[in-house]
C-alpha cells in the first residue's frame, strides 16, 4: 500500500510539472504580429459553452497553428481561480462584478453580450408551469443557480421583480448544472439563460419570462495581465467582438449589451 501511494504521489507531482512546463511552452508567443501561433487558455462562463466552442473552432481554422483551450465554469469560481494565479489568458464573465473583483489583473474589459433568463421545464411540462408566479406554488420543485454565481443573482432579481418568494429545491454550482437538473427531470423547472434553453432544444422546453419581470446580466471580456501570449489573447478577444463573432453569439440567443 505504502509504495503504491508513494508512486501515486510521485506520478501526480510529475504530471503537475509536465502540465506547467507544457503551458509555458504553449504560451511561447507569436513569432510576428501577422502570424499568430501558440496556445491560450480562455476561462468562460458556462453559459457561453456552445458559443465559445463554435468561436474556438472558427478561430483555429482561420489561424492554423493556434490552440484555444477553453475552461468553463461559474464566473465567480473562475474569477477566484484567476485571482489565485491560475494561468489564464482571457476571461469572459457572466457578470461585471466577477470581472471587477479582479482589479488590475483585468484592465480594459469590454462588455460584449447580455443575456436574460427563461424558465426551462422538462418536455411535456409535467408541473404545468406558465409563469414565474407558478414557481412559488408548493409542490413545484425548482432549481436555481447558487446566489454566489451570476445566474443565481439574476434569478433572485426575477423573483423580486415578480414579487414572489420561491423556495428552490436545488441551488446549483453553475447554469449548466441547473439546466442538467431540468433535463434529467429531477426538478419541475429551472431558471436558466435564454441561451441555455436554445442550446438544449429538444431536451428542455422554455417558458418565456415577460420583459417587465425579467432581468439581465452583461458579459465583459478581457485579456488578463498575466497572459503569456497576449498577442494571441488580444486577437481572440477581437474575434469574439467582430461581426463574425457577433453572428455566432446572436445565433445562440445572446443580445448586444
Amino acid at each position: 500500500m505504502k509504495p503504491a501511494l508513494t508512486l501515486a504521489v510521485a506520478a501526480t507531482a510529475l504530471s503537475l510539472v509536465a502540465c506547467s512546463s507544457s503551458a509555458k511552452a504553449g504560451g511561447g508567443g507569436a513569432a510576428s504580429p501577422s502570424k499568430l501561433s501558440g496556445a491560450i487558455t480562455v476561462d468562460a462562463a458556462s453559459s457561453l459553452t456552445e458559443a465559445f466552442d463554435a468561436l474556438k473552432s472558427q478561430f483555429e481554422t482561420a489561424h492554423p497553428g493556434t490552440t484555444i483551450k477553453l475552461n468553463y465554469g461559474a464566473s465567480s469560481d473562475l474569477s477566484t481561480q484567476i485571482s489565485q494565479g491560475a494561468p489564464v489568458d482571457v476571461f469572459a464573465s457572466a457578470s461585471e462584478k466577477n470581472m471587477q473583483s479582479l482589479g488590475s489583473q483585468a484592465v480594459g474589459a469590454k462588455d460584449f453580450v447580455s443575456n436574460t433568463l427563461e424558465i426551462a421545464v422538462p418536455p411535456g411540462n409535467p408541473a404545468h408551469i406558465g409563469s414565474v408566479t407558478d414557481l412559488a406554488n408548493p409542490g413545484v420543485k425548482v432549481a436555481v443557480c447558487d446566489p454566489a454565481v451570476p445566474c443565481g443573482v439574476v434569478a433572485q432579481q426575477v423573483f423580486t421583480n415578480a414579487k414572489v418568494t420561491v423556495q428552490p429545491k436545488a441551488s446549483l454550482a453553475d447554469v449548466k448544472s441547473t439546466l442538467a437538473a431540468v433535463e434529467s427531470g429531477e426538478v419541475d423547472a429551472g431558471l436558466v439563460y435564454v441561451t441555455d434553453v436554445r442550446a438544449a432544444a429538444g431536451k428542455v422546453v422554455g417558458v418565456p419570462i415577460p420583459n417587465d419581470v425579467n432581468a439581465s446580466t452583461t458579459y465583459p471580456i478581457a485579456v488578463l495581465k498575466g497572459s503569456t501570449n497576449a498577442v494571441l489573447a488580444r486577437a481572440f478577444v477581437a474575434y469574439v467582438q467582430s461581426a463574425a463573432g457577433r453572428n455566432v453569439l446572436t445565433a445562440d440567443g445572446f443580445e448586444q449589451p
Partner: protein
C-alpha cells in the same frame, strides 16, 4: 562493534530526516495557514451572515442520522461478512468497498440513477408515494450513508472475525437463541470496534461533500451542509472561507482524541 558504533548504526539515517521533516511540514502547513488567515475579529459576523449555524445544524443532524442508519444495517452486514462461509461472500465484501473506491461525486451520479425521480427505485417511489429523494433532507442522509457505512462495516467486520467464539458457544450450550447470542453476547464483545467504526463513519458522513452537493442541492436552511456551504462561501467571499473550517477542525480533533488508542500509538509498543 563497539556500543557507540552500534548506536550510530541504529540511529536516524541521514537520508531519512530531511524528507521526513519536509513531509511533516507539508501536512501541517495548509491547516496552519488556514488558522493564520482566519478572520478572527469578523468570526461572529461571518457565522451570522453566511448561514453557518443552519448548515452546522443540518450537518450534525444528517450525519448522526446517517450513522444511526449505518449501525442498524452495517453491524449485521459486518457479521455476515465475517462469519458466513459460502461462495459469493467475497463478492459481498467487494460490494461494500464500492463506495470507498468510487469518487463521491460519482456516488452522487449513481444515487440519481438509483433513487432519482427517474431512477431504478426512485421512479416507483415517485409514482406510489409522490415523494422524491434528490434535493431533500432524506436525500443527503442517503448520500452520507452510501459513502460512510463501509467505514463502519469494515471496522466491525475485523472485530467479529477475531472475537472469542468460546463465549458464544457457552451461551448456546445454556440454551440461548441465535438472535439472543448475537444481541447479548457477540455485539457487546465487539463494542469497542463498533464505537470506533461509528466515529469513523460519523466523521466521514459529516465531511461528505461530492455526493451531498450533487444529490442534496445545497439550499441554505434545508440541504446545505457545512462542507457544501464552504464551496458557496469560497465562490462568494474567499477570504471568509477559512472561518468555516473551524467547526469541522474541532470535529477532527474530537475524532483523533476518541480514536487515539487506534491511531496515535505505535503498533509495536
Amino acid at each position: 562493534m563497539t556500543h557507540a558504533r552500534q548506536r550510530a548504526a541504529l540511529g536516524t539515517p541521514a537520508v531519512v530526516l530531511p524528507p521526513a521533516l519536509i513531509g511533516l511540514l507539508f501536512l501541517l502547513l495548509p491547516t496552519l495557514a488556514m488558522l493564520v488567515r482566519t478572520p478572527w475579529s469578523r468570526l461572529g459576523a461571518i457565522y451570522r451572515d453566511q448561514h453557518v449555524w443552519a448548515a452546522l445544524r443540518i450537518s450534525l443532524e444528517s450525519s448522526l442520522e446517517a450513522t444511526a442508519a449505518s449501525l442498524v444495517f452495517g453491524v449485521p452486514l459486518a457479521w455476515l461478512l465475517a462469519r458466513v462461509r459460502m461462495p459469493g461472500i467475497g463478492i459481498a465484501r467487494a460490494i461494500v468497498t464500492i463506495p470507498l473506491v468510487l469518487p463521491p461525486v460519482i456516488g452522487g451520479v449513481a444515487l440519481f440513477n438509483a433513487f432519482g425521480r427517474k431512477g431504478l427505485l426512485g421512479s416507483p417511489i415517485h409514482s406510489v408515494l409522490g415523494q422524491d429523494l434528490p434535493f431533500s433532507f432524506p436525500g443527503i442522509v442517503l448520500a452520507q450513508v452510501f459513502v460512510a457505512m463501509p467505514f463502519l462495516v469494515i471496522t466491525v467486520e475485523g472485530a467479529f472475525r477475531i472475537s472469542d467464539r468460546g463465549v458464544e458457544e457457552a451461551a448456546a450450550t445454556l440454551g440461548a437463541s441465535r438472535s439472543r447470542i448475537f444481541l447479548q453476547v457477540t455485539v457487546p464483545l465487539v463494542l469497542p470496534a463498533i464505537v470506533a467504526g461509528a466515529v469513523l463513519c460519523w466523521a466521514r458522513a459529516l465531511g461528505e461533500f461530492g455526493a451531498t452537493l450533487l444529490f442534496g442541492g445545497n439550499v441554505p436552511g434545508s440541504t446545505q451542509t457545512l462542507p457544501t456551504l464552504v464551496l458557496s462561501v469560497f465562490q462568494r467571499d474567499p477570504a471568509d472561507a477559512p472561518a468555516l473550517a473551524l467547526p469541522l477542525m474541532a470535529v477532527a480533533v474530537v475524532v483523533l482524541v476518541g480514536l487515539r488508542d487506534k491511531w496515535l500509538r505505535p503498533i509495536a509498543s
